[in-house]
Symmetry: C2
């Protein structure tokens, strides 16, 4: 079984190492040995983290993926192009493909799935979401007989590391980001992580699998964590909450559409996701019969991601040997994605107000005007420093947003100090 590898970076070099070190085990599990047919790299001379036979290296990725003797292509270069063209070329030749490319799958997964269907090969992508955590296979196969209602998870390790540091040490966002960069948890340009693009791509993939529909990254409502202050974190802590960047894919109450979103949210400290520290990932799945399930583990890193790639490699190799194919993309439900405004959520808001009679009544009236009911109100401080901290009951995001706009216009409200969605309870 001949394998072409596209990319020899952090993940690719671990794939090469593990294919060599575990060659006997892999052969026994597949029923045939795996052989590295070639490794496509950008430059030939570069020093690599792993020993590779120089004869295997090539800069001509296109020739490699279409070579007659190649059975399986592993793509770990990332990005849209040339990854897409290479994967499509391989699939069109009937080869099977294993990829970790969440950005591509979330932007244009349908092109890849169609190429796989036409070519008759497999397209597997467990490594694209939550690194080593077996999550896509359980969603795609184990829960194939169930009805998933919600997927709620921490799927970006960098932002979880930053938020965890802010929570445990009181650090500012910038200080926590710098620490994450120094430790290699965040990249020099952290945009993809801290602005939620990475998590949004994963949310799109998860939503597609969970709801048997097609969801693309641009349909995902996305907010990052750059605006979160040490005060937000401390205020959440004081109320028994912790702030996490969540990816949430949920069926609407009538079951006819889904909401897919990535944004920071407060969750109760008693929620199992609250205990997910550092760069770990964890995903909650709520299904009608199975109930609540949680999957936890390392969400990134060379070896964990390579573990997921190799698991897929074994599966597609077994399939090829048996002349079979794994499950195809399942989009029969074709649920539409509703806009963020229709999503039902809750909201925590801190208002700097004047401490005088009638203030609470005016504020409460504004909530009522938008049909948002209040769960708890707490006043902190008094006189000029009075702050009202309010947590709402469930309402549409549009109603909550309109309420916030209304509050900002009230003369008794000096400032809206912080607004944050609340998830994971009620």
């Amino acid at each position: 079984m001949k394998v072409a590898l596209l990319g020899c970076g952090v993940v690719g070099s671990q794939v090469i190492r593990l294919m060599a070190e575990q060659a006997d085990d892999l052969a026994a599990r597949i029923g045939a040995p795996l052989e590295l047919a070639g490794v496509a790299v950008r430059r030939l001379g570069r020093k690599r983290e792993v020993d590779v036979d120089p004869a295997l290296l090539t800069t001509d990725a296109e020739a490699l993926v279409t070579r007659e003797d190649v059975d399986i292509v592993v793509e770990v270069i990332g990005g849209i192009e040339p990854a897409r063209s290479l994967i499509v070329a391989a699939l069109s030749k009937g080869k099977s493909v294993v990829t970790a490319n969440k950005a591509l799958l979330a932007e244009d997964g349908s092109t890849l799935h169609e190429a796989a269907r036409a070519g008759g090969g497999d397209l597997y992508f467990e490594a694209s979401v939550a690194g080593a955590i077996p999550l896509l296979r359980p969603l795609r196969e184990s829960l194939a007989g169930d009805h998933v209602n919600r997927v709620l998870g921490i799927v970006n390790g960098t932002t979880n590391y930053i938020l965890d540091k802010m929570d445990s040490s009181g650090a500012s966002f910038n200080d926590a980001l710098e620490e994450a960069q120094a430790l290699g948890y965040a990249e020099a340009d952290p945009t993809a992580d801290v602005e939620g693009f990475d998590a949004a791509a994963k949310a799109a993939i998860l939503a597609g699998l969970a709801f048997h529909s097609r969801v693309t990254a641009e349909q995902v409502h996305r907010e990052g964590i750059t605006e979160i202050t040490a005060t937000d974190v401390a205020s959440a802590k004081a109320m028994g909450y912790v702030i996490k960047l969540l990816a949430i894919c949920a069926r609407s109450d009538d079951g006819q559409s889904v909401g897919v979103r990535v944004h920071p949210a407060m969750i109760p400290r008693t929620h199992p996701l609250a205990g997910v520290r550092e760069a770990y990932n964890a995903v909650f799945v709520e299904a009608e019969s199975a109930g609540q399930l949680m999957f936890y583990g390392a969400g990134a890193g060379g070896a964990p991601t390579a573990s997921a790639v190799l698991g897929d490699l074994v599966a597609v190799a077994r399939n090829r040997l048996a002349g079979a194919r794994g499950p195809e993309e399942s989009t029969y439900a074709s649920l539409s994605v509703h806009p963020m405004g229709e999503t039902v959520t809750r909201c925590h808001v801190a208002l700097d107000v004047a401490d005088k009679p009638g203030v609470l009544a005016r504020v409460a009236e504004e909530f009522a005007r938008h049909d948002v009911s209040i769960q708890t109100v707490r006043q902190e401080g008094h006189g000029d420093d009075a702050q009202l901290v309010i947590v709402s009951h469930r309402a549409t995001d549009a109603a909550l947003t309109a309420t916030m706009e209304g509050l900002r216009k009230l003369d008794i409200v000096r400032a809206v100090a912080s607004v944050m969605r609340v998830e994971g309870d009620e």
Copy 2:
């Protein structure tokens, strides 16, 4: 795709309900409708939890499983016979089988796997361990490219419920058991659960999959929770630990054999398994590349177990339609199971001692004599009520057992108040 169901109890009736309610979804996911061909029951007249067309009911299970038109047999009657004969009969006729029967798989799985191989059908059993939690498929497939070193889990909901009650309320074992029975978490005869038989069967199945070897229930070292006292629980609590009934499957340090055991153990309250409350299950998997993974969810119950059964049903139906088979039993590693004495663990012991000079020295000498080193010692109380609480470093279970025997013989030791293994840290 015609399905014969064996058993119409708690799980079987949920399978029937879900097959009817989700018929369209299941058909879309499989590519063909599932049809219930018949339901084998012990008595025809009994009132059932679900509406079943009386024409489908039969007491002749053997005729049902070998009927020409049946494609897939779902076995949820449990126990060794007649389940084994029926499954073997079905597999021998080339049918695929989905079973939740942990006892049979752990006692004589090889007979079933061989029948599946010979007949060319699938044998799937996700529901046999940890109910709805997708665990076997991840072990068998997602981690197929990794090297699992340890599986550590809470796989019996009844005992977890009892131990959790003892921990949270200070109840005795008997009171907690009665409460569990009243709530339906424990059976009238709780032996299979509280003596660890159920967990041991699951441990055997997990070990076989994780280590690509054959492990039977009788090779599993098994201790139940009936001897655990409120004092043990309180003492663990005082030290920052909680007592859980754990199933542990671990490779030996040299990688040449595995230890498989079920026994109560103290784990630190900071360990993720410590937070698993009530009747929930959770399993930690430690793999070389993937690192630590955790799977959490409902470990039992009609609907969760039926969810796992239906996931398997969709998978084997897809396989049949494609003329393919899922992964076979993988036992190529053929690791042997070493006896409990060779297992490396740690130990917590509380000794009632006389409070006089030289006592600690004599006790420490006894540990040293067996090459067991001490991690912490704490003396509680004094005078006649002095108690030494000792936690050892890692040592073989044989050495720890010999140390305990030696301590019991010391004249300065009035009594060994409690002995408990410690897992999940160091």
